[in-house]
């Protein structure tokens, strides 16, 4: 219980003034522009768009700057901003099969149609600090080019599905639930948890995904495919009656391939865990795919006793804006609550000492 407390306005005002000064840092150094954040801290911007659940690079970069690089605070700022905007509607489903590939790798097939495309990756770097970046640098030369292969890049899961070895995901025309409008009522359909995971905290999902690999809901995953690039978003305005293109968004998609022993009605085959996130967020997409597969255990008749297999555990705890709200509310004044606890402990001690 909180009690309204008056006073503190001057302290709060001064604290915020100091925050502003601290954010600016040493005034002898040039101020960071939002454009610089957007361009040069692009993966921080991507993470804030994903967890803020709002694709807008400029807004996410502003949020990163305002939050002094605290990405959860930045996601919170973006979520708060989005509530000020009206929603015009929902897009057509994005066609990730037609993605303009910047990166596409498979850990299950060496030679797959379209090939392995590494893209701008940290993989195979030595993880040694590069002190050249700390010094003034000459212009960075443009990346090498090679003739582009116009051949399509089918999804790995599609190759397996054509052979009948990959369980097809359900396809229906049902209007998907929207967690931003309707709170979940358990059990929820897969569409609801995919939305929650797509906006969930990367660190939390990484830990949960890792737990499935370590035996808490063991699922023997292979990274069937990871792809990153631009997809076109189409929207059908009611006044036009046909779909138009709004522009492109960068997405990262991960298909985890898992063995499935089969059941009375289905032969042994592979199943998939699916990850799809805004921006270039490979770790998040992979973790999401692991947790998605964990949450599918009930549908596949597997045990459901691990944390990553519990819908309520995952959905109630993966959102960092919700989690931070409840954890951080502990620092608000609880003076009266604590006073009553103090009285109780003193009374108990008096009784025990008698």
């Amino acid at each position: 219980m909180y009690v309204a407390v008056k006073g503190g306005e001057r302290a709060i005002g001064n604290a915020h003034a100091w925050l502003d000064e601290a954010r600016r840092g040493d005034p002898a150094l040039p101020e960071l522009s939002v454009e610089q954040v957007e361009q040069q801290l692009g993966l921080a911007v991507d993470r804030v768009m994903a967890e803020g659940s709002c694709y807008d690079r400029g807004l996410a970069a502003l949020a990163v700057k305002q939050a002094r690089g605290d990405l959860i605070e930045a996601a919170f700022l973006l979520r708060a901003y989005r509530t000020t905007l009206a929603r015009f509607g929902s897009s057509e489903p994005v066609e990730t099969g037609a993605m303009r590939i910047q990166r596409r790798i498979s850990a299950t097939y060496k030679d797959l149609p379209g090939g392995q495309v590494l893209g701008p990756t940290f993989d195979y770097t030595h993880r040694l600090l590069d002190f050249a970046l700390a010094a003034e640098r000459e212009a960075v030369p443009p990346a090498p080019e090679a003739p582009a292969d116009p051949a399509p890049m089918p999804r790995v899961t599609e190759l397996l599905a054509r052979e009948g070895l990959m369980r097809r995901d359900a396809t229906d025309d049902a209007e998907p639930p929207d967690l931003t409008r309707d709170p979940p009522s358990f059990p929820v359909p897969r569409a609801a948890w995919l939305q929650a995971l797509a906006r969930g905290d990367e660190g939390f999902l990484l830990g949960l995904g890792y737990s499935t690999q370590r035996g808490y809901g063991n699922s023997h995953p292979f990274a069937g495919e990871i792809r990153m690039g631009e997809v076109t978003v189409e929207f059908t305005p009611p006044e036009l009656g046909f779909a138009i293109e709004l522009g492109e968004v960068v997405l990262t998609e991960c298909q985890m391939v898992n063995q499935f022993a089969g059941s009375k009605s289905e032969p042994p085959q592979f199943t998939r865990g699916y990850g799809l996130v805004f921006g270039h967020g490979e770790r998040k997409a992979m973790a999401m795919a692991l947790v998605d597969r964990g949450l599918r255990s009930a549908e596949l008749g597997e045990p459901t006793d691990a944390p990553a297999q519990s819908q309520e555990f995952v959905l109630y705890h993966c959102d960092n804006v919700e989690a931070t709200g409840f954890v951080e509310h502990l620092k608000l004044p609880h003076y009266v609550d604590f006073q009553s606890e103090l009285e109780k402990v003193r009374a108990l001690r008096r009784e025990a000492g008698r």
């Binding site: 929603r87 569409a191 709004l246």
Partner: protein
């Protein structure tokens, strides 16, 4: 060319090109185009959101992935032609120009000049930007060696 009513495919094309073009790029092309007629704002320009949807597993049922910012605008020309725009982002002036151009492009007497002077060059620039990304991606494609050709 020059038929009274544009096809849906034509209109979709120019609306998509205008949605991807920045305000500066559109304005630069318009400097060389004939002046546009005056227009009345019917709605907006206003920024809002569109919920982006994906498919479960990439090809299954739909789910809500997250929202994106979108700006829309609707305008009317003096002759009653309506123009609409829905563009990614929050640039109000880009959306208004896109809506105005959508209206003008529906006018047979303006269409060819605007297609040639504005839409085609913007589309070419967008295609080249996409092709550049594709060429950089192609340069990072792994060429596996087999034991046979490593020896040869």
């Amino acid at each position: 060319m020059g038929s009274a009513e544009p096809s849906t495919a034509e209109r979709r094309h120019w609306m998509g090109v205008l949605a991807r073009a920045s305000l500066g790029e559109i304005a630069a092309r318009l400097e060389q185009a004939p002046p546009l007629p005056t227009h009345t704002r019917l709605r907006g320009p206003e920024a809002g959101l569109v919920m982006v949807r994906g498919r479960q597993g990439g090809d299954g049922s739909r789910f809500n992935l997250g929202e994106m910012t979108v700006t829309r605008c609707s305008v009317r020309l003096a002759d009653g032609t309506l123009g609409h725009a829905y563009v990614a982002g929050r640039d109000l002036r880009q959306a208004e120009l896109a809506a105005l151009l959508d209206a003008c492009l529906q006018r047979p007497e303006l269409r060819d000049a605007l297609l040639a002077g504005v839409i085609a060059p913007l589309a070419a620039r967008q295609a080249e930007a996409a092709a550049l990304v594709a060429r950089k991606a192609a340069a990072t494609k792994v060429e596996f060696f087999t034991m046979a050709n490593m020896r040869s």
